[in-house]
């Protein structure tokens, strides 16, 4: 007969307030197999855990049920407590009488009945738990960082510093990401390239960091400690070793294309380097626009190249690599402005986004750093900045605040005034949110020193009139309508995740929230980990944030990855599927439902009536199995059983819960 101990937690008043725990304990003592029922104000505290440990020994308990908060909170804690007392940790069950009972049912009588039912269910399940042993598996001491913006670069450097191999994969031809596009950074007005380029060079020369630019993730398999990733190194059509970076090829190349790096404001060639400080400083042939690849004509670059580095025959390479940890740092995109016709984006060249403004004021930008109106290349006098374009907009854009626009718009106002002392910046805002270190002071300098006019109210309409732009707004503090004649209108567009973030999320097996940002394991307590063990998050791919936060988070993600890689072996979760070979008929209906391809065929031989018989059965690779249980449900004879959630346990729970 089982010897089960039930330990009821008051959780201060969180549970005790709406559940009559005395009755619960009294009823627990009458449940089949229960030999002890005790309680404590805080079962997860030192005293509580000591009570459990001592009772296990004194009462020779072989099962433990803790009626407390959600197993997602302290299942691990109470398993460790049981293990400390010599009881197999998988003989512990948790009854969630806080989140699923005391906190959501106000009527004490009802809540008490429900708590009793939940305890009875946990006891029924615990009675059928089996002791499980976690086995160990090796960790591949190599990390993968996806995305080489400032987040990816920082993570790669931090991991590389500890001596672990790091593969840094970047989709575009050069590392640097969004930060490389910026001119100055707030709040110190450091030149973005001056603080970024040294790190980019560090990455390029770092002995432990292998750089894969112009490459993408093709497939991800495996699990923490043993990820198997297929990278697609797209063909650059340039031999890296030979190329000296002299640039003659992209000078002579005849075909011009809108430059992505310049946000489409200036052209680049079909063979190109995104920006002067690119790392690696090796051009790439954009095969969709190169006349050689599209029409078998031209080939000028190959002819003029002094180092004969151009190689049209190069093809994509698929590289398969094993990793112990993955850091996702894929960065952000900007909101699509088609929904916001009232701002007139796309209808007039002088209506630009803030990123385009960054390029215009950037020395390596399309206008060589001279801020000129795209329409007539004249210096602008009156520049209107509009906050929250697509942000804080429940109906057509994103409901969240993009967090950095208030600061970079203040920066733009300052840069404008520095470039043209006679110019005037107008900023239409709803609320100025400058909550970081030195941020508020930075904003006040924009207003007080640089004379930016802040108008509270979002612009209603922008439309061209003559060679100027008419901006209709309102100042809700003075309740006056506002009509400005502007030379330039800059839209602070909302941040969004990468367009293909959801697809990458599915490939990695990490969740995305309603807006397609990657979801962290716990918003407050585990901000840099994803729900999937071994995959960490850094930067704006998880939500809007600025560069200081991104770098801090990249350091955090790197620290988590290093902690994982520093282990020789990892404990595997023993709650995996288990095949009862006598029941298994070898129909393998389970094989296709396994998302991790952990099931394979096995031929076994057995003696039946003296005759040697060979037959097919299913076999589980315990390392690959992640314990979802899809196979147990697909198995008709019930041969496949997910340990920890076996058929016996779940049936017992259903029987107990319906009493």
């Amino acid at each position: 007969m089982r010897r089960i101990g039930v330990f009821v937690c008051w959780c201060g008043t969180n549970i005790g307030a709406t559940v009559d725990l005395e009755t619960v304990m009294e009823k627990a003592r009458q449940m089949p197999g229960v030999v002890f029922a005790g309680d404590n104000k805080y079962m997860c505290s030192e005293i509580g855990q000591t009570l459990i440990r001592d009772t296990i020994v004194q009462e020779r308990l072989d099962r433990v049920v803790v009626a407390s908060c959600s197993p997602r909170m302290h299942e691990l804690t109470f398993r460790k407590t049981a293990a400390a007392a010599g009881l197999n940790p998988y003989l512990v069950e948790i009854a969630n009488i806080r989140e699923h009972c005391s906190w959501v049912h106000k009527d004490k009588a009802e809540a008490t009945q429900k708590a009793i039912s939940l305890v009875r269910t946990a006891v029924a399940k615990a009675a059928r738990n089996k002791p499980l042993q976690a086995d160990q598996f090796a960790v591949t001491h190599r990390a993968l960082v996806i995305g080489a913006g400032i987040a990816g670069i920082q993570a790669a450097l931090d991991i590389g510093e500890t001596g672990f191999e790091v593969d840094l994969v970047e989709r575009t031809p050069s590392i640097g990401g969004r930060m490389a596009q910026l001119d100055k950074t707030f709040p110190t007005l450091d030149c973005s390239a001056c603080i970024l380029t040294p790190k980019m060079v560090d990455v390029a020369v770092h002995p432990k960091i292998n750089l894969y630019t112009y490459s993408e993730i093709e497939a991800v398999e495996g699990y923490v400690g043993n990820f198997e990733v297929t990278l697609r190194q797209k063909a650059r059509s340039i031999d890296k070793e030979k190329c000296t970076g002299c640039g003659i090829c992209y000078e002579k190349c005849p075909s011009k294309v809108d430059g992505e790096f310049e946000e489409g404001m200036s052209k680049r060639k079909a063979i190109y380097v995104p920006f002067p400080q690119a790392v690696p400083n090796v051009p790439v042939i954009d095969r969709e626009n190169c006349r050689w690849f599209t029409k078998e004509k031209c080939g000028v670059c190959k002819k003029v190249c002094p180092a004969d580095a151009v190689d049209f025959e190069q093809s994509d390479q698929l590289i398969k690599q094993k990793y112990g940890a993955i850091v996702v740092a894929t960065g952000f995109d900007l909101v699509d402005l088609d929904e916001f016709g009232e701002f007139g984006y796309g209808k007039h060249p002088d209506i630009i986004t803030s990123m385009e403004f960054e390029r215009l004021v950037n020395a390596s930008g399309p206008t060589g750093g001279k801020l000129l109106r795209p329409s007539n290349q004249e210096p602008p006098r009156n520049v209107v900045f509009i906050h929250c374009v697509g942000s804080r907009d429940k109906s057509r854009g994103k409901p969240y605040c993009s967090k950095i626009c208030c600061m970079y718009t203040a920066k733009h106002a300052i840069l404008l005034k520095e470039k043209y002392p006679k110019s005037q910046a107008y900023v239409f805002y709803i609320d100025v949110r400058t909550a970081g270190k030195e941020f508020e002071e930075f904003h006040r300098r924009a207003v007080e020193e640089y004379g930016a006019a802040y108008l509270r109210g979002i612009v209603g309409k922008v439309f061209p009139s003559g060679d100027k732009l008419l901006v209709n707004g309102v100042d809700t503090l003075s309740n006056q309508t506002v009509e400005l004649e502007a030379d330039l209108v800059v839209l602070a567009t909302a941040i969004t995740p990468r367009r293909d973030a959801a697809a990458l999320g599915r490939m990695l097996g990490i969740g995305t929230d309603g807006h397609n940002y990657f979801v962290e394991a716990h918003p407050k307590l585990r901000p840099v980990e994803s729900h999937t063990a071994g995959i960490f998050l850094a930067g704006t791919c998880q939500g809007p944030r600025d560069i200081p936060e991104t770098v801090a988070q990249a350091g955090g993600a790197a620290a988590k990855a290093i902690a994982l890689l520093s282990k020789e072996t990892l404990l595997s979760d023993p709650c995996v599927s288990n095949v009862n070979e006598s029941l298994c008929t070898g129909c393998l209906a389970c094989l296709p439902v396994c998302p991790y391809k952990a099931i394979s065929e096995k031929t076994i031989t057995e003696k039946v009536h003296g005759q040697e018989r060979r037959r097919l059965v299913a076999e589980i690779n315990n390392a690959l199995c992640q314990g979802c249980g899809a196979c147990s449900t697909a198995c008709r004879p019930g041969a496949m059983n997910l340990l920890g959630f076996t058929n016996e346990q779940l049936l017992a729970e259903v029987d107990a819960i319906c009493l």
């Binding site: 006598s582 298994c584 008929t585 393998l588 209906a589 697909a634 019930g638 016996e648």
Partner: protein, 320 residues
């Protein structure tokens, strides 16, 4: 009919003589007019006892589960519905295709003995035969000719694959295929309201005596040990009460979901005539509607609907 019988005996004899097969599964004639039982022939001389008449309905492929352990190669005769059943066993990896030699028999429909009795033709009946388009009933000293259409099994009227889909040699030329609508009965039941339907099935399931004939004859039901025979965990109670009968029939129908070849054997062998075909056909109809046509037993390599998916699947519930 006679021609087919000669071919069956000839082929059986030749494979046994040549040693190509060490067992032939066919049908033998029992003492009563409707009895055509599965015959296990190992000697060439016994092939003379093989028969072929409108009552050779039992599906021979399920006997392979035992025979293939002890025999090197088994030859057997498969009608259209039997071949679908064989393919389902193949899909479940219960038979080794190399160890089986299949003679396909295009089948123009078999005769339901109960319908003969209901027509009162069974008194002193010796044998029944297809001749030309007619059914010949021969008695001690006279004969009657009838139109066969009112005597076919229900399952033969809706048969969509009378010509076997898997064979090594076909013993006759293909027959015409014009099945009646097979979801008519399901449609009728669907028209009733929920409680009316519940009472209908309550009457059916309460008659079940849990003899498991339906499970034993079904080609898609080939588990070494059936979940309903397990005691720990005890899925199904042994007691013959409505609730347990419902659990059995709903679970078994669900085990067949997407795998039932609609051969109609379960309904035929049920001693208390529970319309099991309607249960299976409801699932076939729904799965076809929801996730695309899937004809179980025709292509064994194609994955049945319930163990595959595609992200854009529709759902029969509100996916808010």
């Amino acid at each position: 009919m006679k021609a087919m019988l000669q071919k069956i005996r000839k082929e059986a004899a030749s494979v046994l003589a040549s040693g190509e097969a060490d067992l032939v599964l066919g049908w033998g004639k029992g003492p009563l007019w409707w009895q055509s039982y599965p015959a296990f022939i190992e000697e060439e001389k016994e092939t003379g006892s093989l028969t072929w008449d409108p009552f050779c309905v039992p599906n021979l492929s399920k006997y392979l589960l035992e025979e293939l352990w002890v025999k090197q190669k088994v030859a057997l005769f498969l009608k259209g519905c039997d071949a679908l059943g064989f393919n389902q066993l193949l899909q479940d990896k219960r038979v080794d295709r190399e160890k089986v030699l299949i003679f396909g028999i295009p089948c123009s429909g078999l005769i339901d003995p109960q319908k003969v009795e209901r027509a009162g033709l069974h008194q002193g009946l010796h044998s029944v035969e297809h001749q030309g388009g007619e059914l010949v009933f021969s008695y001690k000293d006279d004969q009657k000719k009838e139109d066969p259409s009112s005597f076919y099994y229900d399952k033969c009227l809706t048969c969509r694959h009378p010509n076997p889909v898997v064979f090594d040699m076909m013993l006759g030329d293909a027959v015409a295929v014009n099945p009646q609508e097979r979801f008519a009965a399901v449609g009728e039941l669907e028209k009733q309201d929920v409680s009316e339907r519940y009472r209908y099935w309550e009457r059916q399931f309460s008659r079940c005596i849990r003899c498991f004939a339906c499970r034993n004859v079904c080609p898609a039901c080939s588990c070494r040990e059936c979940i309903f025979d397990l005691t720990d965990p005890r899925w199904l109670g042994k007691a013959n009460v409505l609730s347990e009968n419902q659990f059995y029939h709903i679970t078994r129908a669900f085990h067949m979901a997407g795998r039932c070849v609609d051969c109609g054997e379960c309904a035929r062998v049920c001693p208390v005539d529970i319309p099991l075909t309607s249960l299976n056909r409801k699932l076939i109809k729904d799965l076809n509607e929801l996730y695309g046509e899937y004809d179980a037993g025709v292509e064994p390599e194609k994955e049945p609907p319930l163990i595959t998916f595609n992200p854009g699947d529709p759902a029969a519930f509100l996916e808010s």
